[in-house]
């Protein structure tokens, strides 16, 4: 699926620039998110993911470029946008000194959820977060995963068509993370458009499309499959050996090798043509007295793609500078 082609894009970002003084946090970013799509924002800390999300929520004013959410120009009418969105900020921002129920009732009031509907919506949020029986518990005493699910519950209480989730799974244990993504998928299946940022590269697999952001720029965007097969710009080999250091050095000079990097106790080698390299590399290494115990073609993970793309982006920038 390719949301960029859909006419009813819920989020449109056109050449967005955000500067803080002389620091450029977001540098000419453009993308669209379609109805009911899950768009993942990936990138290292400080890449500008939060800044883009805050701009989309109308919390920051764009320095240049335009942003539409639910068809509304955010810079022009931020208040109207806020009726249509739910937001989970990066820092936990529910009231820790209020109970589960009190937080939900508070946001129900703020979003003016119809009184007749509120008990049912609160029930929904409590069940979704798995907090049944803990309605009176103070939020401060809940574990991280529960807190995050409650924050999601508060964000969807008023049935917003668009959700912005800024690193909702950071600091949450893996099983809770998995469960959180299941909730996101359930919401998207109901037609909610979700823009979610994360610094866990593996979570990109759960998204319909993922955008990779580095130092304020969008360096790749596409479905996980598209990114794996096109964004890498080559094919991937796995190499296991004893002498990691000398092998890595030798590989960097080898013909047909674009890049190589250490992954755990193995080396991932990016080559022009996997079949030719599988034939030629063992001999090349043998000449240098290096004998890999294993050499085979592998499917790239998104992490390979991102590590490669970010490294290439860094090289490009340092050359430009």
């Amino acid at each position: 699926m390719s949301g960029s082609e859909t006419a009813d894009a819920q989020i449109v970002v056109d050449n967005l620039v955000k500067r803080f003084g002389s620091f450029v946090a977001v540098d000419h970013v453009s993308f669209r998110v379609g109805h009911g799509e899950i768009m993942g924002f990936l990138g290292p800390n400080g890449a500008g993911k939060s800044t883009i999300i805050r701009t989309l929520c109308g919390l920051l004013r764009p320095s240049a470029g335009r942003v539409w959410v639910a068809g509304i120009d955010v810079a022009r009418d931020p208040e109207r946008v806020r009726e249509h969105i739910g937001y989970m900020s990066q820092k936990f921002s529910l009231y820790r000194d209020l109970s589960v129920e009190e937080n939900l009732r508070f946001f129900g009031g703020i979003y003016r959820v119809p009184r007749a509907e509120l008990p049912e919506r609160m029930r929904f949020a409590i069940d979704m977060a798995g907090l049944g029986g803990r309605e009176k518990t103070l939020v401060a005493t809940l574990a991280g995963g529960w807190q995050q699910r409650l924050a999601l519950g508060c964000a969807v209480l008023h049935r917003p068509p668009i959700l912005f989730l800024d690193e909702p799974t950071s600091g949450v244990e893996p099983t809770s993370r998995r469960r959180f993504w299941d909730l996101i998928h359930t919401l998207a299946a109901d037609g909610v458009t979700v823009l979610v940022s994360t610094h866990y590269m593996d979570e990109a697999e759960y998204c319909d499309r993922a955008a990779l952001i580095n130092q304020g720029r969008l360096i790749a965007i596409g479905s996980p499959e598209e990114l794996k097969h096109t964004a890498l710009g080559g094919e991937l080999l796995l190499l296991e050996c004893e002498a990691l250091g000398p092998t890595l050095a030798a590989l960097r000079q080898a013909p047909g090798v674009i890049d190589s990097s250490v992954f755990g106790n193995a080396i991932h080698v990016l080559v022009d043509n996997a079949e030719r390299s599988l034939r030629e590399l063992p001999a090349y290494l043998e000449q240098r007295s290096l004998r890999p115990s294993r050499l085979q073609r592998i499917d790239p993970s998104l992490e390979d793609v991102f590590v490669r793309l970010i490294a290439a982006d860094m090289v490009k920038r340092s050359e430009a500078a």
């Binding site: 919390l59 920051l60 004013r61 208040e79 937001y87 820092k91 921002s93 209020l98 703020i110 979003y111």
Partner: protein, 378 residues
């Protein structure tokens, strides 16, 4: 402005204040401690001031004079010493504040020339007390001197009227006994309202910024006026409660006369609370730090209310440029109002001018506070 959202904010604020020991202390304990601390501590009346006497003559007449001191409400004789150094030592030890020395030739000079001197040694480290004590001592001596004169005239067969054709008789209104407590405690209510009001609201917005809850709040459709009134209304109610505490303590415990109506007190106190609560809120919005905002709130509310409102220090005795400054001190108007309500029983019609000033102030600060809050992070 939507009532539903305003109520959601107000309810949340009440719950948070209720669960925050620091806010509760400010709201409920501070008025009590301040009331008793200042009610007893700030006392400009001198009564039973400890003195020591050194009667170098030991005559009937000198003992009569000392009896006058003993009988006076202002003094209490704690030592009768036998030598000068003992007076010095007693003053040094702060056993007494005044030493009265009667010279050895006291009766002799009084009988011979009709005049005699008595020495008063005053502890000048507290010049205010020393001045007042000196005044009292002089009046005790002059009372004694009148008695002496009377008995002398008696012996001459003349009456007082022939010697003193005119006397002044003063009558004090509103605070008949000139008890400084009656004058201070109504003003103290203003000080406590200023302190408590601005302290509570100075925390409220800054707390949300510090805890990160503000980021979520500003992403919702809530309007800044709803945030402001939702946060001010619970504290206004707390302010009313505190004012009621203060009134009860003032009238029942300190027995300050209350001659006005509760309605006048309620209306003017609400106006004053609107000013101080909005000042605290404004600071909290602008400074975004609980510590910073509450410190500055102290400086802009407690200090001027204590020093420049006429609560203890009379404005007409200040240098003229300071007097001009006091016109912008909002508490000046409330102190005027509350003293007039307590002691004179003034109603709204008599207090129109200061009430008008408070209204202008309240509207200005509320408008400023409403504009200061921005639903943006940059």
């Amino acid at each position: 402005m939507r009532w539903r959202r305003l109520k959601a904010i107000a309810v949340k604020e009440v719950l948070q204040t209720w669960r925050d020991p620091r806010s509760l202390m400010i709201a409920l304990l501070l008025p009590f401690t301040q009331m008793f601390l200042f009610g007893y501590g700030v006392n400009l009346d001198l009564q039973h001031l400890p003195i020591c006497t050194f009667d170098r003559e030991g005559s009937q007449l000198s003992q009569d004079l000392l009896k006058h001191f003993q009988a006076s409400l202002y003094f209490a004789i704690v030592h009768n010493v036998k030598a000068y150094p003992e007076i010095v030592a007693a003053i040094d030890r702060a056993d007494c504040r005044v030493g009265i020395v009667i010279p050895p030739d006291f009766s002799e000079r009084l009988n011979d020339s009709g005049t005699a001197s008595v020495q008063a040694i005053l502890d000048g480290t507290d010049d205010n007390t020393a001045n007042i004590a000196f005044g009292y001592a002089a009046s005790v001596v002059s009372g004694f001197s009148n008695d002496v004169q009377l008995s002398w005239l008696d012996r001459q067969g003349r009456t007082l009227q022939q010697v003193q054709p005119m006397t002044v008789q003063s009558r004090v209104w509103f605070n008949e006994d000139l008890v400084s407590r009656n004058f201070i405690i109504p003003g103290l209510v203003a000080v406590i309202m200023a302190l408590v009001g601005a302290q509570l609201t100075s925390l409220t917005v800054a707390r949300e910024w510090e805890r990160g809850t503000m980021e979520l709040l500003v992403s919702t459709p809530v309007q800044s006026s709803e945030v402001m009134f939702g946060k001010l209304i619970p504290y206004l109610m707390l302010g009313w409660l505190d004012a009621a505490f203060c009134l009860v303590i003032a009238v029942l415990w300190f027995e300050v006369p209350f001659r006005g109506t509760l309605l006048t007190l309620f209306l003017t106190t609400t106006l004053f609370l609107a000013v101080v609560l909005s000042i605290g809120y404004l600071l909290s919005v602008v400074i975004r730090s609980q510590v910073g905002a509450s410190q500055i709130a102290l400086v802009v509310t407690l200090l001027p209310t204590t020093l420049l409102s006429g609560y203890v220090f009379p404005i007409d005795q200040m240098p003229s440029f300071i007097q001009d400054v006091t016109y912008v001190i909002y508490s000046r108007y409330y102190v005027t109002i509350i003293k007039a309500i307590f002691l004179k029983g003034a109603g709204i019609s008599e207090l129109l001018m200061p009430i008008l000033f408070l209204v202008v102030y309240a509207v200005a600060v509320v408008a400023l506070a409403a504009r200061a809050f921005r639903k943006r992070l940059d």
